[in-house]
Symmetry: C2
Subunit: 567 residues, 2 copies
């Protein structure tokens, strides 16, 4: 069965779980009426289903390649990208003054979800442009905005982000790329960057690289990093791409998946660059770009999980093996263990999607109202949405293969591609371990205030559901109370003890939020009750074991010596 | 770092966890002294490390291919296979009267572990021969034994097993391949078989296919299936391969992993076959072959996990990113979250390996003593060892990639290959769902007696450890008591309710056995205490949530309608 964009679930979650109505009620997003939102989702769903999804397998089989120093895209990607650009989807959240639609992140994220499920390798290209647009909107000079934003928003040009160097991955502060002032306000950028997604492209007239580099005499570490715009072709004042800049993609990586997305090693050899924002403040600017990109990566996980689930479900409804409890010749879907897997997959996708869209609503509310509570909510939910959405992406894709048995291992079915493609989402944009450390570190620097406020809300929701669904509401309440106690203990721990329990803590938090989302769903529509029971009675209980790990701290881990690990 | 066979851990587990001394104390295996066992492990470890492991990447990059209807193996596989055959490793457990070493399964399995970690794609080839040798030893006529066993044992010929057809996967009874008697005691075999591992090979002089087929007028389902020996070249009375039989590999599958192992679609077009065992009793004979193959697949998971762990550990000891809690410039191994992952990986590998070797000891004891309690123990542990060993294989390989961040996603590092290769082990030889259904169905047909006896043993072990490690012993005892209660509830459930909780039940059982294994290890060597704490305090607690799923039964799953799964 071909991929079908999950418009119905996205609408339902926006309305009944994430509280999108609050966004539409703000003056800033007054135009995002329910009717417009519906139209946006329907049209994006149509493009994802009809135009983008058919490209996914060809992108896997015919990887992007490097010819004479230039990237040649996978078959059909040019047409697919053109449809996205011409439909205005690159600029969906960009400001109207530069040609964008100016829509809320909530809607942009729902569109990301559908495009990721359709073809992750291609969706990455506009995604990076969107991050760059946002960074320029916040940090660039008016002249730079005027020059770059219209082209990026229209999709004529595209953007990249260049952080990683061979010795500087999670430790961005170790980067060495240099920026030498040329005296005319520009800089000569020199160095090597790796893992640059869509670092070159034949789908656009210009590729705009945002590059982190060091100015002469800059402080060591992250406080000495500046951000530069380094275009492939240097534009003239009217925005016509001119001279070729001294940069190139020197090689492409051979990756487990997303073969249609060229991952470049970039060489900058005195390339001309323009400072974005203030000197030595590049990390702050890059964080703008990365923060929302993290949330988008979270829904990449959700989107691929959706596609993997649909594909496995189609198989389970078509394939017959033995008598099932429901009939002599029924589909394998009717075997208890197959139904267990598919029910868990759907419950997980619903929960992870709800967390991501709730985070997006918090971002929109923070922007629309300036209320710091919304800002703190968004900051808290971002690492959870990223790490949990992508963990679930990997797990659901894995289950999708398992449902199909031997056929799941054969590449032609596509099940394996989902598992290969989605695997990167748990790694890039900050590994899921880094996300969890962000959650228990920076995001708990408030003493856990934002977390406790969210737990309070979950408990109020459980109280409200108690009359109708006493057992489910009780379990969500209890789990959130356990999370509260663990959070109280966590914020009292030294930082490295928190780090030791960071990943299980993040997952336990996501479990509670998943229970909350399903409870809300069942209250809004009793047809959602069966899946809510699967989440709350079968999946949520794992929070207890996860929180037990949080209490353990770091000591027991450091008692394991390297020689013990060698076996 | 290249793979290094885990001889030390295998020895330790055989001695201190699995109780191999009991096997060596039986008259049947009196020759398997500790000295011989050590020599066997050391020599197999040397071959795995020095000869086989170096072939792994080439096998991935240069898949086996079909040329003019014949399989051409990956580079170096011919030399690697020759080393295995000439070393006598194909016949390690085969009977001495046909040239085998006649060693216990416990030692053979330890060798499988090392060879799987070295190169899973190549290890599959002797593995299938070993299963065929065992089936022939039990079911073939003396003439057939005399003709085939010496050649299979020496590795000059190899074996395959042919069960699956497009419509008959988990439901073997649906197979349609026909066997027509030719009047001379032979049969004409016609039909198509899929997923035939090493269905053709240029490494041997003859390929011996064990094929399940139906005789004319045979009953429907599994009671009408017979087993046939169908050699590629028909041997003369002296065992010289003669006329080409009417069978061929018509195509190879494109798989996620194990590219060096050709997975064939086999076409039998009136091929000459010889009945093995009795007519219509083919499933029983095939089960002999499959039962121990299941256990071997379990250690394939463990073996690849070992390799993935070693590779990730080497990365974590070499890579530096930021200041760690232990030093300003230490390796990433010293970051709490990285150490958490690696400690979990090692604890899991140790536990899964212990379960597999304990199962092998039970098989050996059953053979050596004829005691039905050992037989029941082996039968109970086999599905746990298979499913848990391969689940852990997938999870550890996944963590191995995560430890390495972006580098883990790049094929050159080899981390992705481990994850791709090991994924099939959770599927073939009966999916892990089928294993779990076997555990809660057939293996609980005794009312849980074998399970309760094993739980009793675990609790006696915990009692014995209470003085020295009161907290750890207490947690293992409590967990096994929870498992006992869940087992009591399980055996009272209707079968389909058991099936609904089968996978979580199997995992919970493995968690308890893992805790038991680590407790034994810590008692034998206090250097093992730190890993035991990781297993018992951080991983074992998940049993509670798993057993909660077991109690849920099937009803809640069937309340989820297909349209709810569609989202």
């Amino acid at each position: 069965m071909p991929y079908r964009a999950p418009v119905r679930d996205l609408r339902f979650i926006l309305e009944h779980v994430a509280g999108f109505a609050r966004v539409a009620a703000t003056p800033r997003f007054a135009e995002a009426t329910p009717e417009l939102a519906d139209a946006i989702l329907a049209e994006a769903g149509r493009i994802a289903t009809d135009v983008i999804a058919p490209l996914n397998r060809a992108g896997d089989l015919n990887a992007a390649r490097l010819e004479n120093g230039a990237v040649v895209s996978s078959p059909g990607f040019a047409e697919g990208y053109r449809a996205l650009a011409e439909g205005g989807w690159v600029g969906i959240a960009a400001r109207p003054e530069h040609g964008g639609m100016g829509l809320p992140i909530s809607l942009a994220l729902a569109v990301d979800d559908m495009l990721s499920g359709a073809c992750l390798a291609l969706q990455l290209k506009p995604l990076l442009s969107k991050g760059q647009i946002e960074a320029l909107e916040h940090h660039a000079s008016d002249a730079m905005k005027a020059l770059y934003l219209p082209k990026l928003t229209s999709g004529e040009w595209s953007g990249t982000m260049n952080l990683t160097e061979p010795q500087a991955g999670s430790d961005v502060g170790a980067l060495r790329t240099k920026a030498e002032p040329l005296g005319d306000g520009t800089h000569a950028i020199s160095g090597q960057k790796i893992f640059i997604t869509w670092g070159d492209s034949d789908l656009v007239a210009n590729v705009c690289h945002m590059v982190l580099a060091r100015l002469p005499g800059a402080p060591e570490g992250t406080k000495g990093i500046s951000l530069f715009m380094v275009p492939k072709f240097i534009p003239d004042a009217e925005g016509r791409p001119g001279a070729r800049n001294s940069l190139r993609a020197v090689s492409l990586e051979h990756k487990l998946g997303i073969h249609g997305s060229p991952t470049c090693v970039m060489e900058y050899d005195g390339a001309k660059g323009w400072l974005v924002g203030e000197a030595n403040k590049g990390m702050a600017a890059m964080f703008t770009m990365m923060n929302n990109a993290r949330l988008s990566v979270g829904v990449q996980g959700v989107g691929v999980a959706e596609a993997a689930l649909q594909q496995a479900l189609a198989h389970a409804m078509e394939r017959h093996q033995g008598a099932t409890p429901l009939s002599a010749g029924g589909p394998i879907l009717d075997h208890a263990d197959v139904r267990r897997m598919l029910a868990a997959m759907r419950a997980e996708v619903f929960a992870a999607r709800s967390i991501a869209l709730s985070c997006a609503v918090a971002i929109d509310m923070a922007r629309a109202t300036g209320n710091p509570d919304w800002q703190a909510r968004a900051a808290l939910l971002t690492p959870i949405a990223k790490a949990h959405g992508t963990d679930i992406g990997c797990e659901v894709a894995h289950l999708g293969m398992q449902v199909q048995g031997g056929m799941g291992y054969i590449e032609e079915t596509g099940a394996a591609q989902f598992a290969r493609d989605v695997r990167i989402t748990a790694i890039y944009e900050g590994t899921n371990g880094i996300q969890a450390m962000d959650l228990v570190g920076r995001k708990m620097a408030d003493g856990g205030e934002a977390a406790f406020r969210l737990i309070d809300e979950v408990q109020r929701g459980a109280e409200a559901a108690r009359t109708r669904y006493p057992d489910l509401a009780g379990e969500v309440w209890q789990a959130s109370e356990a999370l509260r106690e663990a959070t109280e203990a966590l914020v009292a721990q030294p930082l490295n003890d928190r780090f030791a329990g960071a990943v299980p803590y993040l997952r336990a938090f996501a479990r509670v939020l998943g229970g909350d989302a399903h409870l809300k769903a069942a209250l809004a529509d009793s047809d959602r009750l069966a899946l809510a029971r699967v989440m709350i009675r079968r999946i949520l209980p794992e929070h207890a074991a996860l929180l037990a790990q949080v209490r353990e701290g770091a000591e027991g881990l450091y008692a394991v010596r390297p020689e013990d690990l060698a076996g």
